[in-house]
């Protein structure tokens, strides 16, 4: 199986704090990869490297074989066309209604007329279960609805890869399940590559083809959910069993 994204020996520091320390990770095409790890452990930073929002201090980020760290802004924008991204708090534009939010990337990157755009918007909103929410403002939506609207916007251009930044954090168990199912359905229906960062293990087991565990700036374990569950690595063991004692210093 080929890898659509590959991070090779990526280092990144913010000030004196080293966040990524020689991280290497492969994301196979057409599969769901979940990156798990501690809060504040640099998971979002990994995701932002993949889409070129952050440039590494050292190392390579290959997207479909192309090192995006070497691209200029124009080429990088081109490379970003492959991606959709669901931000942690959905990052909907507050000044626009939900319909305009979803239509936003379509208006910029497609040559469709307004009627077709609105048709696509309706379709995408239906896919995420938000039929008829076009005229609502983001401030009128609940957390779960915001995430779904964000997902509709992320899939508007039918990207090859969707990045999910903590899609279920802060949601109740039912919504968490609904969003997880939505990610799984979207991935299967559109046959895309999904990269999800999460610290929700139950969800990770459900949606992931692959799980990678990030700890101290590196991927310490990666494999299928079963392989992760069976892992003897003390760090992985401590994390998946949710113990405060172990090699990971919690407090």
């Amino acid at each position: 199986m080929d890898d659509i994204i590959e991070l090779i020996d990526v280092h990144k520091s913010f000030g004196k704090q080293k966040v990524l320390d020689g991280l290497s990770l492969k994301v196979p095409r057409g599969r769901t990869t979940v990156i798990i790890g501690l809060s504040g452990g640099g998971k979002s930073v990994v995701l932002k490297h993949m889409i070129g929002l952050i440039k590494p201090d050292q190392g390579q980020v290959l997207v479909a074989g192309q090192d995006i760290t070497q691209l200029d802004d124009r080429e990088l924008n081109q490379a970003r066309r492959r991606f959709g991204m669901l931000f942690q708090d959905a990052a909907l534009f507050d000044s626009m209604n939900v319909g305009d939010n979803v239509a936003f990337p379509l208006r910029e990157h497609s040559k469709l007329n307004e009627k077709d755009i609105m048709k696509l918007v309706t379709e995408k909103l239906a896919m995420v279960g938000l039929t008829g929410a076009e005229v609502k403002m983001p401030s009128q939506l609940s957390g779960g609805m915001r995430k779904r609207a964000g997902l509709a916007r992320a899939i508007a251009l039918e990207p090859e890869i969707i990045l999910f930044d903590e899609p279920t954090t802060g949601l109740d168990p039912l919504l968490t399940d609904a969003i997880n199912r939505l990610i799984k359905d979207t991935q299967e229906r559109l046959n895309i590559t999904a990269v999800v960062i999460s610290h929700d293990l139950a969800g990770a087991y459900r949606i992931a083809h692959n799980i990678a565990m990030l700890y101290q700036g590196r991927i310490v374990a990666s494999g299928t959910p079963d392989e992760i569950r069976a892992s003897q690595d003390p760090v992985v063991q401590q994390f998946i069993h949710g113990r405060a004692e172990g090699p990971i210093e919690v407090l």
Binding site: L53, R80, F87, A91, E108, H109
Partner: protein
């Protein structure tokens, strides 16, 4: 041996001591045969009396230096982690003095409470080092570094902004005209009432104050010159700029800053938009286009204010006042005033956007950016005005 408070007061001497009870606890110390001592604690050992208990337990070593100390807890009715901490400290003090310490009447519940204390954790260095108070020299140096860093960031932003202008000039479709119009309304139209009112009052005050000075010389009519020239050349652009900085520069910083916090700026980038072209350019362009017009309006309102004083208070006719005003001004004055205000607008909107883009973190950072946008804009306005004063003096 349990002693009540009055008893302790009577028997202060020797090894016997009963501490004053804070939260209803008592302590007594007796010598035992063979160089040992017995410390009997009773009542509540809790946070409320911690200071007292700690003091009293520390005082034990001043009273006695036994080989062996038996701590009898059988009379203790209440123990919390603070009480356990005091006991733990007593243990450490005993260990430091080489005294053997044993408990009596330490029930499972009390043991459980004692087990809550993480002595290693207490001894560990805190993750965040204690705040260091910098000396005057350090503070001066750090302030200067911050200023230099800030200037560097502003210059870097200026470069990126010019590049964005270039991209938009090559591909005008990138510029959102509807947004430019929206911000022109926000900066210009919505600013008219306050700019008009302040300028009118300013003209009124200037005319009134100067008329008091000019009246004795019979130079009443020159009030018109004074108001017109002061407003058009200097005060009109400055007053308008200050108001725009307060109204719109802050709004720009807050808007972009909030978008930054909500990751909306990142979302724009991910969707292939250039945030500078998309967010900053319409604001700056709208400001540069509207503020000069706003300045003209301000000039006009101030002259109207002067006119009111002239007609009502100095016995001038409206015709002669207006005539004198027109005579005192030339088109060059008006144009340089507008050029100045366009420059101020560029600085206000530019620094507002820059401060917005610099926001990291949360709501507090947005507040800081907003304040900084206004303060920096005022500073830049004054600096630019000084440069204008010098250049215009030598140029013309």
């Amino acid at each position: 041996m349990h002693l009540t408070r009055p008893a302790w007061r009577r028997r202060l001497s020797g090894l016997h001591k009963k501490a004053p009870s804070a939260g209803g606890y008592s302590l007594s110390l007796t010598a035992e045969p063979g160089g040992g001592a017995r410390l009997v604690l009773a009542g509540r050992l809790d946070l409320g009396g911690l200071e007292q208990i700690e003091g009293d337990l520390g005082g034990v070593w001043e009273q006695t230096s036994p080989k062996r100390l038996v701590v009898d807890l059988s009379g203790v009715t209440y123990l919390d982690s603070a009480g356990a901490l005091a006991l733990g400290q007593l243990e450490q003090q005993a260990a430091a003095r080489g005294v053997e310490l044993a408990y009596q009447g330490l029930g499972p519940a009390a043991q459980g409470i004692k087990g809550l204390l993480d002595w290693q954790g207490l001894a560990r260095q805190p993750l965040i080092p204690a705040q260091r108070y910098a000396g005057l020299l350090d503070q001066l140096g750090e302030t200067w570094l911050a200023v230099v860093r800030d200037v560097y960031l502003v210059i870097a932003f200026l470069g990126e902004f010019l590049a964005a202008c270039g991209r938009a000039a090559v591909n005008p479709k990138l510029l959102r005209v509807s947004e430019v119009l929206l911000y022109m309304e926000q900066v210009g139209v919505n600013g008219l009432p306050i700019v008009g009112l302040i300028s009118f009052l300013l003209g009124l005050i200037m005319a009134f104050m100067s008329s008091l000075q000019l009246k004795p010389f019979g130079a009443n009519i020159y009030v018109a010159n004074l108001v017109a020239l002061a407003m058009v050349k200097e005060l009109g652009p400055i007053m308008t700029a200050v108001l725009v900085a307060g109204r719109s520069g802050s709004a720009f910083a807050a808007e972009i800053g909030t978008m930054k916090v909500n990751e909306e700026v990142d979302a724009l980038v991910v969707m292939g938009y250039d945030p500078l072209v998309f967010l900053a350019l319409p604001k700056v362009l709208a400001a540069v286009l509207t503020v000069p017009i706003l300045t003209l309006f301000s000039d006009l309102m101030a002259i109207t204010g002067g006119l009111v004083v002239g007609v009502a208070g100095m016995g001038l006719t409206a015709g002669s006042y207006i005539d004198q005003t027109i005579k005192s001004l030339n088109s060059g004055d008006i144009l340089t005033g507008m050029l100045k205000s366009a420059t101020f607008a560029l600085l206000i909107a530019g620094i507002g956007c820059q401060r917005g883009f610099m926001v990291r973190g949360g709501a507090q950072a947005v507040g800081t950016a907003t304040t900084s946008a206004v303060v920096s804009a005022m500073f830049l306005i004054i600096v630019a005005d000084s440069i204008f004063a010098v250049v215009l003096h030598y140029a013309g």
